[in-house]
Point group: C2
Chain length 512, copies 2
């Protein structure tokens, strides 16, 4: 079957007509796919019962949510659910000024999005505040699940039939619930991550009593052979933990190293996971922040939708024939962190367990977020405008990366500091040749790292220490690294900060 296109999505919407999704309407991806699970000739996902925790198994559907099914009967009057009347909501309508897609790469000008309290009744709209600001399904609104489903099918087109999605309140929420679903300290569970990994992810596992195993990395990120070796030789009694059955990986613009796995690297890692029955948590917030190399200062050429999609690396989700991947996406890096909204994609079995957890832990994302993001990405921009917006971000972050790389070239002493130019994300990872330190015989790597950190701070620059991101902080620190981001500071500040960093290094290493 040919790849899904935006034209296919538009045609499907035309065919089914206006969405009817009142307060707390149930929705899942199968309602919005181009090809629903039953009609698909793709294989079904494998079952993951042996991976689930006792807690996750014990989750039953909430009685009130089950009762809500009766609401589908036409004309029924409910005195059952304690939903406040929208007459007493503190908000009558909301609106926002948003960047306008002009079908070019840069978004010039602004336009307005608006949602009123009774737009469904008065304007035959698909969504309004009477729905968005009332109680809803923990999985998210039908309106957002439709858009997410279309987006996932367009970008990833998972190669098995029964994939599903639901919203999260961001990937912190997604990872936390995935861990509760898959790892149980009473079973002695452990999980694997890159040897340097996202600090919050590592900190999520610690109080849950889950042992973290760090896997060696090279310039393409996690090394599959290293993972295979660890799994093949695992001795549960010696390691004090069950053989890891979960891999957490940030495949694109990895945090903190900035590395991006090549297509063949992803394939090799997936193969090792198949071999050892490992479930994959693909945390990919930087997926769309591909940073291009530029030969001149000319404006970047706008890609067609097809070209743009082809320019993205294959996600694990897109090669996942087994349904062994839970992919975590987030609006944080591409619209705003404050949306507190993201989504997970995995097999129906796993999404169902995930939603059960959300029902008694978090509920879905906020109604303002769902309303605002829906209005923007569905009604105002559409899928085409959204992909154009991503191109605009890529151009912007590429500029910022290049400012930092120029500053590195200009101000850093290459004798003692080295880096790879990141091809995605927000981070660059700098390796310090600590053996060149005048006191390298008596100072530990941690000492040298702290000395550089403190010297930069004294010069008004805050860097992130490599040691903050160690998967296994009890092991000796193998190198001195710093993570620098080009996402936040202005071009001028980046220059000033990198210059101060270079001066600090020269001073400490006696290169002045």
């Amino acid at each position: 079957m040919k790849d899904p296109t935006i034209a296919d999505i538009d045609a499907r919407r035309q065919a089914v007509g206006q969405m009817v999704a009142p307060t707390a309407a149930y929705a899942d991806s199968d309602m919005f796919k181009l090809q629903c699970s039953r009609a698909s000739n793709k294989p079904a996902a494998r079952r993951w019962d042996n991976h689930l925790t006792a807690e996750s198994f014990a989750r039953a559907p909430g009685i009130l949510k089950v009762a809500a099914r009766f609401l589908k009967r036409p004309g029924i009057i409910s005195l059952a659910g304690g939903l406040p009347t929208p007459d007493y909501f503190g908000f009558r309508s909301i609106s926002a000024q948003v960047p306008t897609s002009n079908h070019g790469i840069f978004f010039e000008g602004e336009s307005t999005i608006t949602m009123g309290i009774h737009d469904i009744a008065t304007e035959n709209a698909a969504f309004d505040l009477s729905v968005a600001l009332n109680y809803g399904q923990a999985a998210g609104s039908a309106q957002m699940i439709r858009w997410i489903t279309e987006h996932v099918e367009l970008v990833h087109n998972p190669p098995y039939a029964d994939w599903d999605t639901c919203l999260t309140t961001g990937s912190t929420d997604g990872l936390y619930k995935a861990l509760r679903m898959l790892c149980d300290k009473n079973r002695g569970d452990s999980w694997m991550t890159e040897e340097y990994s996202y600090a919050t992810a590592l900190e999520t596992a610690i109080p849950l009593g889950i042992r973290t195993v760090g896997i060696k990395m090279d310039s393409e990120g996690l090394v599959p052979e290293a993972m295979d070796k660890i799994l093949t030789n695992w001795d549960a009694s010696r390691m004090g933990a069950r053989k890891p059955h979960v891999l957490y990986t940030v495949p694109t613009g990895q945090n903190p190293t900035g590395s991006t796995q090549s297509a063949s690297r992803r394939r090799a890692i997936y193969d090792v996971c198949q071999k050892h029955d490992v479930y994959i948590l693909e945390d990919d917030p930087y997926y769309f922040l591909q940073l291009h190399s530029r030969t001149s200062n000319s404006q970047p050429r706008k890609l067609s939708v097809g070209e743009f999609l082809a320019s993205l690396p294959p996600s694990y989700l897109s090669i996942d024939t087994d349904g062994r991947v839970m992919r975590l996406d987030s609006f944080s890096k591409i619209l705003a962190p404050g949306t507190r909204m993201g989504w997970v994609t995995a097999s129906e079995q796993m999404i169902e367990r995930f939603i059960r957890h959300s029902e008694t832990a978090s509920q879905g994302p906020g109604g303002f977020s769902q309303a605002m993001v829906y209005k923007l990405v569905d009604e105002k921009w559409g899928h085409t405008g959204f992909l154009n917006w991503l191109q605009r971000l890529q151009a912007g972050y590429t500029d910022r990366r290049d400012v930092m790389m120029s500053a590195f070239d200009k101000f850093l002493p290459k004798l003692i500091v080295s880096w790879h130019v990141p091809s995605a994300g927000m981070f660059c990872w700098l390796k310090i040749k600590y053996s060149c330190h005048p006191n390298s015989k008596i100072y530990s790597t941690l000492d040298i790292e702290e000395e550089i950190f403190a010297a930069c701070l004294k010069r008004g620059v805050l860097l992130a220490k490599g040691s903050w991101f160690r998967a296994e902080p009890d092991l000796p620190l193998q190198g001195v690294f710093f993570r620098l981001t080009f996402a936040a500071a202005s071009a001028e500040s980046i220059e000033v900060a990198v210059r101060a960093f270079g001066t600090a290094l020269r001073t400490i290493f006696g290169l002045v």
Copy 2:
């Protein structure tokens, strides 16, 4: 010391000047109290180390949040945190139409609230989208914590010094984290609730392996003597669970029974909790929905702020000399459920543990919510306008309650159905005299409940079954009850539905 007033709060704000709280600024209640903990002559809260779970104990501050403290240095350039630049946020400004406080009881007309991306820099504002839509502290924005702190001090004025607050993404989130903090299945923990309780609360405990113990109720809710007896006679080996050390209670307009604990009842329950070292989770979403009795159809008189505050029942928080209460508040019933925002108040020790959990599970509420609610309750309405709004809600829900009570009087067969007129909240609890059922000798209570439920459904009316709310569903169902809400349906629909309910009862019980 005299009770805090809105004038005191205004004076304090005047004295300290404009709030300065940039991106991800740290904040806690002590920064905004009229009297900070150290200056207070109130006693300190007790420590609850023996109540905390191993998981909660193991939570350490996140390394990246700790690093953010360095950002306080003036002029520092950070290349550390992966915060996207606000230049690339998908939203430039937001606004809303909101009901205008006219200082009367009814809110006539609308006005506009607006927040732009750089209002702090360009208009010397206290909050803007560059902050609200970026990453923030899991505890919530400084702007919202200030308002919440002032509100809590005004309404509850906790009688110990070191109370603190933080935001939640709603009380589902609050309760879930409180349970993880206090109850551990590996320790054989159990908790107590009213014998009929909020279904989602009960469902939160089940997969966590926490045994629920239901406590008898009367028309004033939970019976303290029944709780004392259970605790005094607890035999851990016979009960298969440790003696309960946590009480979950909904003191006002209880869900599902609609009962409200009197002031003396609250005091008696608190005493029993002191006697048995029980920690109290006070879930009080209906606190402000006091429903008044009215002698005529005249418009309700508007109360002064002092009169209004005096009309509220004493919360557990307001009598909590030990710091043994965690109070859960929510905007869901008083602004809109879709805000997905509430707050918890407890001793500093407990709030600190709570925030550590939020950092690796949920983060704080969405930025749109924090921005919108701040603009509304702080800048547009202020504390006075907010309390006026609550009076407006009380008048509205009182009208709705009275519509339902009139319909009960008109349509329900008093021979077999009885109720108390609820004095708060959204619910009425109807008791069916099932012994009058023609087949009461052969039908179980569950059978009769189902027969009535199904007959109503056939007539187009959805009710909530009493059995859905049983704290201990394995015990035999002691009575037949239905929960009806007057919050959601229109007056006409309430009449139609209650009439159908009455007809169904008459038919089933052979009263036609």
